[in-house]
Each structure stands twice: as structure tokens, then as C-alpha cells.
């Protein structure tokens, strides 16, 4: 018996969309302080960073919902929340579940930064590297499009751009952290 492929197509495309939005959010976050484009105001870059993160979570919600509704792979609701309970590629799916939960935690930490303090908020943001790595591995191992050239190019482009922005962030001098002596021009 054939079934309606709509939700299967939706699940896959929403997964890729979430991955692209996550990558864009990570890239925007990485350039907030290193400022490769000096004309962009940090406050505007932070807004962009948070918007991409929020849209990414939206695509993620769609990805999960579509997987539950679809019948190509059997995915009960709890398998979206509890790792290793999916019968379809359990390890690859578990990586996706854990990555999604970390994403929600890091996103929510912005609203909780008053309670947890700016230092803990920054520490928690280091988890973003695990999120990006987890999302990449999850996509490569659980996705059915991985062997296609366009999918491979997308993963490669995302990893290369995040690696480049991370290197620039690590190597670039901080924009300006010291008080400028009176009379001096920066």
C-alpha cells in the first residue's frame, strides 16, 4: 500500500531548513564580537542571531511534528523527547533529540540570564559548538539525502563557514576593550 509522502517530504525539508537556520544563527553569533564587517552594529547582529535561532527552533518543531505524522518511519511522540527510544536509526535519532534539547536550553538561557547570571549564560553558550556538531552528525547519519551531492555540499559549506568564523573569532583582536586615552583617536 502506498502512503501519502507529504509528511516525509516535509520532515526532510524542515530538517535541512532547521540546519541552515542554525548555521546562520551560529555564524551571526560568532561575528558579534569579532566584527569582520565593521559597519554592522553589534546590537543589530545580536537581533539577527536571535531571530535565526528562533526561526531554527520553529523549523525544528515542524521537523519533529512531520516525523510523528509521517508513516515512512515510525516515530512515536516520546521518541522526540527521550533519546534512544526510536526504532529508526536509534543512535542517529538520539543525537538529534539531544541536540534539539540543548538548542532549546541555550535559546531559553537568554531569557533566564538574569537568574543564572551573565557568566553562566556565557558558559552555557559554549554548548553551541556541541549543538552544531550534533546537528551535523545527526543530519549526515539519519538523513536519507546524505549521499546526494547537494546535501553533501550543504554540510560541507556549513562546517567550513562555521570553522572559518570560529578561527576568525579566535584570532581577531577584540574590537576595542580598553579605554582610549584622552586626546587619542581610535
Amino acid at each position: 500500500m502506498t502512503h501519502d509522502p507529504t509528511f516525509w517530504l516535509l520532515a526532510r525539508s524542515a530538517g535541512f531548513t532547521a540546519y541552515v537556520l542554525l548555521t546562520l544563527s551560529v555564524l551571526a553569533g560568532l561575528v558579534v564580537k569579532s566584527r569582520p564587517f565593521r559597519s554592522l552594529k553589534p546590537a543589530a547582529v545580536v537581533d539577527t542571531h536571535r531571530t535565526f535561532a528562533m526561526l531554527g527552533l520553529g523549523a525544528l518543531a515542524l521537523h519533529g511534528t512531520a516525523l510523528v505524522l509521517d508513516q515512512t518511519v515510525r516515530m512515536p511522540v516520546w521518541a522526540l523527547v527521550v533519546p534512544f527510544t526510536s526504532s529508526y536509526r536509534p543512535v542517529a535519532t538520539a543525537i538529534g533529540v539531544l541536540t534539539a534539547e540543548l538548542m532549546i536550553l541555550v535559546y531559553a538561557s537568554f531569557s533566564m540570564r538574569k537568574r543564572i547570571g551573565p557568566k553562566n549564560w556565557r558558559r552555557l553558550h559554549w554548548a553551541t559548538y556541541a549543538i552544531f556538531a550534533g546537528a551535523t552528525v545527526h543530519g549526515l547519519t539519519s538523513g536519507t539525502d546524505t549521499t546526494r551531492p547537494w546535501a553533501f555540499a550543504l554540510y560541507l559549506g556549513a562546517v567550513a563557514s562555521v570553522a572559518a568564523a570560529t578561527a576568525y573569532r579566535a584570532l581577531a583582536r577584540p574590537a576595542s576593550n580598553r579605554p582610549v586615552p584622552k586626546g587619542a583617536t581610535s
Binding site: 558579534v32 564580537k33 553589534p42 546590537a43 540570564r113 551573565p118 574590537a175 576595542s176
Partner: protein, 65 residues
């Protein structure tokens, strides 16, 4: 001890930790931090400057006259 405070508003990302740690000294206006006073003897300004993820706040110790 009195501290003179300067915010580099072109660096401010609007994170807001300064206004949370020292609300009498910093406030957010239009998503960017601004000073309510030019100088203060409250040590909270040091925590606020330290907490800024952009390093946009500089604090100078004013020598006693």
C-alpha cells in the same frame, strides 16, 4: 573611590547585564546601554563592566583630589 564610566555605544549589543547589575548607573534605551550618571563610587560598576560580553564599558579610577 570614584569611578569614571564610559560606554562605547558603537560596541554595545544590548545584552543588558550592566543594567541588571547596576540599575542606578546603567539603563537600556532603544536596545543600547546608556549611562544615568557620569561617575559613581559604587563598586557594582566594576561587576557591570566585567559582565559586558562586548567589553563596551570602560571604568577609570578617578584620583582623589
Amino acid at each position: 573611590m570614584t569611578y569614571r564610566i564610559v560606554i562605547d555605544q558603537s560596541l554595545c549589543s544590548g545584552f543588558g547585564s550592566c543594567a541588571e547589575l547596576a540599575p542606578e548607573i546603567f539603563e537600556l534605551e532603544g536596545g543600547v546601554a546608556r549611562l544615568r550618571v557620569g561617575s559613581s563610587d559604587d563598586e557594582a560598576v566594576l561587576d557591570a563592566a566585567d559582565s559586558c560580553p562586548m567589553g563596551a564599558i570602560s571604568v577609570q579610577l578617578v584620583e582623589a583630589a
